[in-house]
């Protein structure tokens, strides 16, 4: 299988030969940082145009079609607009927290990129507790949102932030439990190990019923965690105008906006890694020829294909369903998703102990 490790190893060796190890380390960090920021920008642009096209086609419209071929540069034009707009800080807000909040949302999204395996041997930080790291860091998002809501000195923002707090704290549980189902099967928290364990089949196929159930629960829970419709109560447009980012404008708003999309990307990447095999090509048992052909498709393509499929699912939800009410949202979590995922985890554990999975 073709791999990116040769390139990264070559860079690593060259840096170490040319400079002393400390400088080599710093240069590597800079390269990674630039890559992350670049990926951020590209992902933001791609996801926004994708969302608008999906929405348009579902709503029997054409969608953006003016800027560039078939409107593909629309999100770039939007970014330029947001960049040149005035970033207002209204009177009466807590200026420090108000300006800090979008940065926190952004930094959290950046941090989450670290342990994700984008392709074969292409991980920024091959952490042995990668999944745990992601679940832990992603819950910091709520602090950014609460900070924005509180500092805005606006009742709509405050209500949006409070809703978001309740929502994220609750849905972390079932997201965590559904991730645990896969951890039980693999016995490892390392993302690379999890991907490697799916060489002979993805967990959604290998894990029988519990894997499918936990996949469905995972998708629902992460939709809620990223504040996407039908769980977009934090920014419920028809109730709270724009929720926690009502008072934000210009680039500060754009950072929230971007962070939301990056968060969607990351949770979908985690979902693709855990359930759909990450960068691992589609393999079927003993069909050697078929597996061999599949190996020719680059691993990065597999990863991004699966991730974008999950992102499409989440967008599809958004443009189909009405929004839930806050009490129904919590009911759904505590009365349905949590019991089901607990029972499901039990079942998965039994399967894993008995070794009934493939």
């Amino acid at each position: 299988m073709w791999s990116l490790s040769s390139i990264s190893n070559a860079i690593h060796t060259w840096l170490n030969e040319t400079f002393n190890p400390t400088w080599a380390m710093i240069f590597e960090m800079v390269i990674v940082g630039v890559c992350v920021i670049g990926l951020f920008a590209v992902l933001g642009l791609v996801l926004v145009i994708m969302e608008r096209k999906v929405a348009a086609w579902i709503q029997i419209r054409l969608g953006p079609n003016r800027v560039g071929p078939k409107g593909m540069f629309q999100s770039m034009a939007d970014t330029v607009k947001l960049l040149v707009k005035e970033g207002m800080t209204p009177n009466g807000v807590d200026k420090f927290l108000f300006n800090l909040a979008p940065l926190i949302a952004m930094i959290v999204a950046m941090l989450l990129m670290a342990p994700i395996a984008f392709a074969k041997d292409f991980v920024m930080w091959d952490l042995n507790i990668g999944v745990l790291y992601v679940t832990a860091v992603s819950s910091i998002t709520v602090i950014g949102i609460l900070m924005a809501g509180w500092a805005s000195n606006n009742k709509y923002s405050l209500m949006g932030a409070m809703r978001s707090g309740a929502q994220i704290v609750s849905y972390e549980l079932s997201a965590g439990l559904s991730i645990l189902t896969i951890i039980v099967f693999t016995g490892s928290l390392n993302i690379s190990d999890i991907v490697l364990s799916q060489a002979n089949g993805w967990w959604i196929f290998k894990g029988h019923f519990p894997a499918i159930v936990s996949f469905v629960i995972f998708i629902i829970a992460v939709t809620a965690e990223t504040n996407r419709a039908p769980f977009d109560l934090a920014e419920a447009e028809s109730e709270l105008t724009a929720g926690f980012h009502t008072e934000y404008s210009g680039m500060k708003f754009a950072l929230f906006f971007l962070a939301e999309y990056i968060n969607v990307f990351i949770v979908c990447a985690i979902g693709a890694t855990l359930f759909l095999g990450g960068w691992m090509p589609f393999h079927i048992g003993n069909w050697e020829a078929f597996n061999h052909i599949m190996d020719y498709i680059p691993s990065g393509l597999w990863f991004f294909g699966k991730t974008f499929f999950l992102i499409f699912l989440i967008m599809w939800f958004r443009w189909t369903f009405p929004r839930l009410r806050i009490d129904q949202l919590l009911n759904l979590e505590w009365k349905y998703l949590l019991p089901i995922s607990m029972f499901n985890l039990l079942l998965a554990t039994a399967l894993a102990i008995l070794g009934w999975h493939f």
Binding site: W57, L62, W316
Partner: protein, 158 residues
């Protein structure tokens, strides 16, 4: 029994959501259902209904003649004071004085396209045109004079 109901509830809920997803998925994949009209681009092919009330105009024939007698029926019928008829007295070749319009001033900015003036006109001098792109940069240009300069009343219209 509780468990059975619980599971039934969950399944029927999931089913109702899938039905909705199937419907939106259908539209996502069937692009021929798209109903967007790309307005400024289709200006050449765009045809308004022949009764569309766009603005009041006064048709003139090739001899630059209109049918307006200056009876002010339209001015009286208009609810908003959109139309103002300014009359003059023409001297006919026989030396008789004859009432005719000097100007028929039409304020497009006041008009609600209610069609009452067209209905009220006894000699069918004014009609509704099918134009619809009325935006201008200067409000003064919305005030129009409907009769052409040097136009005359048609023969036989009383």
């Amino acid at each position: 029994m509780f468990i059975v109901n619980y599971i039934k509830e969950v399944l029927s809920a999931v089913r109702s959501l899938l039905v909705g997803l199937r419907r939106t998925g259908y539209y996502f994949t069937h692009h021929k259902e798209i109903i967007t009209e790309q307005y400024p681009d289709n200006r050449d092919t765009l045809k308004m209904a022949d009764r569309f009330k766009g603005e009041v105009v006064m048709p003139h024939d090739e001899k630059n003649e209109h049918r307006c007698t200056g009876c002010t029926a339209c001015e009286l019928a208009c609810p908003n004071g959109t139309i103002k008829v300014i009359t003059k007295f023409d001297i006919s070749p026989e030396g008789k004085k004859k009432k005719a319009i000097d100007k028929l001033v039409y304020h497009l900015e006041l008009c609600t396209m209610c069609n009452l003036c067209v209905v009220a006109c006894p000699s069918d001098a004014i009609v509704m045109a099918q134009t619809f792109e009325h935006s201008v940069f200067d409000r003064a240009s919305l005030t129009k004079i409907l009769n052409n300069p040097d136009s005359k009343i048609m023969e036989g219209v009383e």
